[in-house]
Symmetry: C2
Subunit: 198 residues, 2 copies
């Protein structure tokens, strides 16, 4: 139906998450109307992500260098390790501007149902790093697999790195969250994790 050059581009767009036939067609037609220079930059940046982007050799975060900017930053506390599932979580946390420590990207969570076992994650490296740390903050998702992973890591770290403080990020009502809009799980967490008023 489409000229083959356009058809190829539609098929490439379809590889993106959540992009169906109609959306891919719309994107490809938009590209066909774009400024040629912008399309060249687009093509180069696609190739660039594959040639220069890699995982930081220390924390597993995405980086254009052997070690990521956070790990190379001497102003950040390298004694404080924030453990997350994926590089996206690092970005989300960095956007808050509230955290001054470093990260560790596990690259997933333990999920027996999906066949993901502890040895599939970057846990050995976390344990090695935790030996020099003061605190490890477990920030895996508040899901069954995320909680399982947090419990597993808590036990492992307390065993292998006895001096380190292992904490879990707080769960409860979101900022601006109205009580009657919260789901039951969130409410139950918010209740059981209540703290005394200052």
């Amino acid at each position: 139906m489409y000229p083959s050059s356009l058809q190829k581009l539609i098929e490439s767009f379809r590889l993106l998450p959540g992009v169906g036939e109609k959306t891919a067609e719309r994107y490809a037609l938009a590209v066909s109307e774009m400024d040629p220079e912008k399309v060249r930059v687009f093509a180069d940046s696609l190739a660039g992500v594959k040639t220069t982007l890699r995982r930081c050799s220390i924390c597993g975060n995405l980086s254009d260098h052997e070690e990521c900017e956070i790990c190379r930053n001497p102003d950040r506390s390298h004694k404080l390790i924030f453990v997350v599932q994926s590089p996206k979580d690092v970005i989300a946390m960095e956007k808050t501007g509230e955290y001054r420590g470093v990260y560790h990207v596990l690259n997933g969570v333990i999920s027996p149902s999906k066949g993901v076992m502890p040895e599939d994650l970057d846990i050995d490296q976390l344990v090695a790093r935790a030996k020099d740390a003061e605190e490890v903050i477990l920030a895996t998702s508040n899901t069954m697999d995320g909680e399982t992973t947090a419990m597993y890591l808590d036990r492992l770290l307390k065993e292998q790195c006895p001096g380190v403080l292992v904490t879990r990020i707080a769960h409860g009502l979101p900022a601006g969250g109205l009580l009657d809009y919260a789901d039951e799980m969130t409410l139950a967490y918010a209740l059981s994790n209540r703290r005394s008023m200052q």
Copy 2:
């Protein structure tokens, strides 16, 4: 926040229609996890659209060649011209598999409010082609601007190409359309364009 290679790709994805920051981030991260060969094909197809894709010199449809496959097809009736606003409309019509004539892409509709005048559209070429045609089917949208364009073309074609039959595609209830779900405009059209039962 992101490594610069990823940031550049996010900015390119943001140029696509309806893609905001979050979606662009999701697409770029997906690319970072894609098979390198697929990313290479993606980059090549982006460049390919700009180097090989052009407008058919006869009908204005998108094509990888000087003349599009429809215009070059001797099995199609070149005496029947289906007039549309954009290449997308050609695809939509071709998908029905019902039409065996050729097309003419106007590249827009007359829209005084947006400053689009008849001379901004590929109308001269349509008139030239219509001189050899038997029927010109006007298929601009059923909107104010689309109707204005259809009326303008009808008058122009009758004046310049007296022998040609000028028709307008039908408007009415869509296939499977329930009466009580139809908007008033559609219902009014369906009523005024009613035809006698066979």
